[in-house]
Amino acid sequence: MKKTLMGNEAIALGLVHADVDMVSGYPGTPSSEILTTVQKLQKQQDLELYAQWATNEKVGFEVAYAGAIAGKRTAATMKQVGLNVASDALMSASYIGNLGGMLLVSADDPGFHSSQTEQDSRVFAKFAKIPVLDPATPQDAYDLTRYGVDLSQEFEIPVMLRPVMRVCHARQIVEVKSEHDFSPQKGEFQRDIPRWAGVPRAGRFKQGEQLLERVEKLERYNWEHLLKPEFDKCKGGRVLILAGGTGYGFAKEALEDMGIEADVVKVLMPYPLPVEKIKEQFADYEKVLVVEEPMPCIEEQVMDPKVHGRLDKTMHQIDEMSKVYIQEAMRKLGLYEGKDLYPANPFKEQIPARPPNLCPGCPHRDVYYSIMKVFKKKKSIYPSDIGCYTLGINQGAIDTVLCMGGSVSMASGFALADPDKYVVATIGDSTFFHGGIPPLINAVYQKHKFLLVVLDNSVVAMTGRQEPPQRQNKEVDIVKVAEGCGASTFEYVYDNDMNKTVDFFKRMKEEYDKADGPVVAVVREFCVLDKEKASEQLPGEFVTVNEDDCVACDQCTTVFNCPPMSYNEKDKIEIDPFLCVGCGACLNVVCPTDAFVLDEKRGK
């Protein structure tokens, strides 16, 4: 049956068709739609399965992994930086293995479209010595998902599926199984203490030896089942192209564009590789070009004087794949002398950037505005974290961004290093649960003085509004958590009257001055795009500008920066009625001359 699917939907359908009935993950672009699609399929087809967001990737991985130890078929989903968080568990899981099947889906983002780093999860798989599959298209993603789960069960080791953004967010007409009788495996834990609880040195040493054997078996398997059939189709010639994942599609098209015929071998499993077998094939060619992204994973394994790629700078070093890089590589290798097929003729003038901004009406904006009003920039350090609220950077309200949860530990570090300044850290609710709690405990017991503002909008907004823990179960409460950690904790329910928000932070400053450890302020907000809550929270106070009062002081367009506000041809601020959501926040405090007034025409 043919279906138009996005890569992530194809992976989700593949999981269901592989009888996976435990999926646990943490949101992160470009991976998030995998788990939400499994949840959709669960509803549509009334499937009995577990598909839930974990508090972070390590937790997600471990839940799924235990399921696979107990004999089930499971999956963990995350983005590539999430794998850093789950890596501790992964490194040991590869030694111990599993009885059911476990697919670890780690989505990469070459080109930094929505990620802090351009790291390559395949390299991580190689580091952990687990097999990894690299799909080129949504069709591959569907096929390799099913294949990977089987492989994991057969070899008793977690298998990684590594789609890149251009697979996750690609759309294609995919051939899928039309009927599937969902039959998950029964979970039945079998006690085997030496295996499931192997301890160093003897226990783990033995598992280490077994792991090496498994890798060798997988190399042979890779050759027999995946690579040999590909090489059997090859004709030999001046150049062999070894292509991983999306590299395959780019290479095929680029060669056709250049009018070059060459063998292109698709490497579906870039680790572990049967290196000797592959190198034997090089005899039929003058040169070998490896096309893969974003790091040289295949290339490092098959290093040879004939091999070119990223290591010797024949291919590009950073940013996502593009056919022009293959054209240039072929030129460097003396295999293409034609004209540039991909000339770039950009518009002659610089086009203003369109940086993302907090939505009109987003409560995060008011909080940042108030923090800056009370804790002056010159006397403060503003560490922040990762989420929609990072866009407070447009207001000048953020000094540092590192990784999820980093704001809290960095607040400790800044408090120690520069004690004369106020340290005001901001973190979202999902980020707090993900990585903010251990550093808060650290700060409490060591008495580090800072203000931690938890921006609790009860959604994981940045990644598409998944549900955080407290949304599904009210028992989980950030105030109680922070109090439980021993921090002096305060709560403020967002009010669109900015005077109240500023007053709250004035109070927080008094508390800060008195405190001898961290002060936590939990701000209860909502997200404008959260349909369930926004309609009742947005008051319908649409705003317009009293032009006579506007003195063009820039306050509203810099420190507040709500998208509908811009200068008109008379150099007065104007509010775009299409963009304004009527939150009414700018009616107070924001304008020093009170030029913002209620738009009587739109009423309340």
Partner: protein
């Protein structure tokens, strides 16, 4: 057949919707299709660009100087993505009359769709579909008919199809010389 389309705009303009419509049209005609959308920051008003490649292709990304058609939902975003157009391609753009069409190296079909929406010709949320109509009418190589597009829009969501089809037809009525 091979035909490549870039759709450029900013978050909230519904570029991805157009990708889905074109993918459905392709499916209905048994034409292969590969597309990709970059929607990382789109919801927060950032720039969005989508690619859709119809016919026998093996990767979803469009390289510079390859696209047959660029649908620009906004003037700056159209210019930012201009380099994807091949010579002989066409840009269908929503822009005011000061748009520097002379500096674009392909044909340009320009309509001030923001003004039309403000004047009440169609609801602003329908701007994507309106521009699809403009593109379909003015690109002589456009691979689908008006009927094909209507069919796909109905498949997307039968309930709201009538309104979208009306907007599509309004866009389609714009003939450039």
């Amino acid at each position: 057949m091979r035909y490549q389309v870039v759709i450029a705009g900013f978050g909230g303009q519904g570029a991805v919707f157009l990708v889905k419509v074109l993918a459905l049209c392709a499916g209905n005609k048994n034409i292969e299709c590969l597309g990709t959308e970059n929607h990382g920051m789109s919801q927060r008003g950032g720039a969005v660009s989508c690619f859709i490649k119809l016919g026998d292709f093996s990767n979803p990304v469009i390289d510079t100087y390859q696209a047959d058609l660029l649908i620009g939902l906004e003037a700056d975003e159209a210019l930012r993505n201009m380099q994807y157009l091949k010579s002989g391609g066409i840009m269908a753009v929503n822009a005011e009359d000061d748009f520097p069409a002379a500096d674009v190296y392909t044909d340009v079909a320009r309509v001030d769709a923001f003004a039309k929406a403000k004047a009440g010709d169609f609801p602003i949320q329908g701007l994507n579909v309106y521009m699809l109509g403009v593109a379909a009418r003015n690109d002589k190589n456009f691979p689908f008919t008006l009927e094909d597009l209507k069919e796909a829009i109905t498949q997307m969501n039968a309930k709201v199809a009538a309104q979208n089809i009306e907007i599509l037809e309004k866009g389609y009525a714009n003939v450039m010389e």
